[in-house]
Amino acid sequence: MNAELFENLRLELRRGCLILAVLAELRTEHYGYALRKALADRGMAIDENTLYPLLRRLETQGLLVSEWREEDKRNKRFYRLSSDGEIILKQLLDEWNSINSSVSRIIEGEPITEELSI
């Protein structure tokens, strides 16, 4: 029960972070498999069944652009952040930093000096 509960909460916590990690990593152009490896190398392993649908959704939302290109004699789909994606990523990073510092203060029991609104 506790393991299952922890797993559900962990996935919930990771969901938003994954979007942030994918957007941040795609400031540099990657094709799908290379993106997956780059994220895993930085400690953010992501299942392919989660990553590819997420990439499609972010592209539909206009945050990513993609193109099919040949590399090493194979057709690969390369993704990178769009101009809208760059703006959103900056806003999300500000929000992330704000949440992160607020949660740290809460955990350490320090008085709250600025309002946290989610």
Binding site: G32, A34, N49, R74, N75
Partner: protein
């Protein structure tokens, strides 16, 4: 790579139309890259077992394809509470009372075999409930797929919310007093019932003869009257077992409804005879008496059903330990 092609073909069939080629091309490329990486690590081509492992790691084709589908549920979390409420209202507040108060009494009172009529009515009720639930579900599924903005969640005012009932829970003292009263009332009523029950009464020279149906329900009636004893006893011993009390009350009301239905089915409940009284007058008096009994029985049925429905709803309501009065 025959296995890979077969896998991709199987995934493809579950993907949304119009995106199949694109998704499959990208998926194929991803798996080939993984195989290539593995081959580099091993220093040799992968064998069939290793390909099988890679594909199994990815998941069943249907499961993999499902990640690309736009909607995974029939009725989403935003609409689901309203769907539940509508179902409760339609089934418990509309369908059930209509069958209990209108369809069932008419069906039972107008046929020769009340048991068959009762079974048929219950079957019709079940079928109507299934049909109604189906229609409501389809309507909500359509609403989910083609969402219409529901204004109720935006245009609301906290001042229009219903007031909190003064007391949502019975105090222990009230509960104990009610239990003792129930016990005593049940025993007294049973004693009076046994002592006074006759098939004939003499009243001012007129003999009142009860119809045979009264004799047939003698023991069931006594049981219903005496059911207050265990119910009161349960309330005294386990005051915290609210669901058991609600269940008892629903069962007693249901038994009462069945007895009333059996009585209503008889049509005539008393006969009047009396030497020296005009026959026409006695018939008219008997008709009026029977009419009065009929009205009383219907009122009894309405009261029993009106008591059973809220108790039944409480029985199925989710358990909660939160109490407004303790939270404020």
């Amino acid at each position: 790579m025959e296995l890979l092609d077969r896998y991709l073909y199987a995934v493809r069939s579950g993907l949304p139309k119009g995106q199949q080629d694109d998704i499959i091309a990208e998926m194929g490329e991803d798996i080939r890259s993984e195989i290539e990486d593995l081959e580099t690590g091993l220093g040799r081509p992968v064998n069939e077992t290793e390909v099988v492992e890679i594909l199994k790691e990815r998941g069943h084709p249907a499961k993999v394809a499902s990640h690309y589908l736009p909607q995974q549920y029939l009725i989403g979390p935003a609409l689901f509470p309203i769907y539940q409420l509508v179902l409760k209202i339609v089934v418990l507040v509309v369908l059930l009372p209509v069958f209990l108060f209108v369809v069932a009494p008419i069906a039972i009172a107008t046929v020769a075999h009340p048991t068959q009529a009762l079974i048929k009515t219950l079957w019709d009720l079940a079928m109507s409930a299934v049909f109604t639930v189906g229609v409501v579900t389809v309507v909500f599924a359509i609403m989910e797929r083609y969402p219409v903005k529901f204004q109720g969640f935006d245009n609301w005012d906290p001042r229009r919310l219903p007031r909190i009932p003064k007391s949502t829970t019975e105090s222990r003292g009230t509960l104990r007093a009610t239990a003792v009263f129930e016990l005593a009332a049940s025993l007294i009523a049973a004693t009076l019932f046994v002592a006074w029950f006759r098939t004939t009464f003499d009243l001012g020279g007129i003999r009142i003869t009860l119809a045979p149906v009264w004799r047939s329900i003698y023991w069931p009636s006594l049981l219903v009257i005496l059911s207050g004893v265990p119910k009161g006893w349960v309330s005294l011993i386990w005051p915290e077992r609210r669901r058991l009390r609600f269940g008892f009350r629903v069962a007693i009301n249901a038994a009462t409804l069945i007895l009333v239905a059996v009585l209503l089915n008889a049509g005539t409940w008393v006969d009047l005879t009396g030497p020296g009284f005009p026959a026409g007058g006695l018939v008219e008096a008997a008709n009026w008496t029977n009419f009065g009994i009929k009205i009383s029985l219907i009122i009894t049925a309405v009261i029993a059903a009106a008591d059973a429905i809220p108790e039944g709803l409480r029985l199925f309501r989710k358990k909660t330990s939160w109490n407004y009065s303790t939270a404020t």
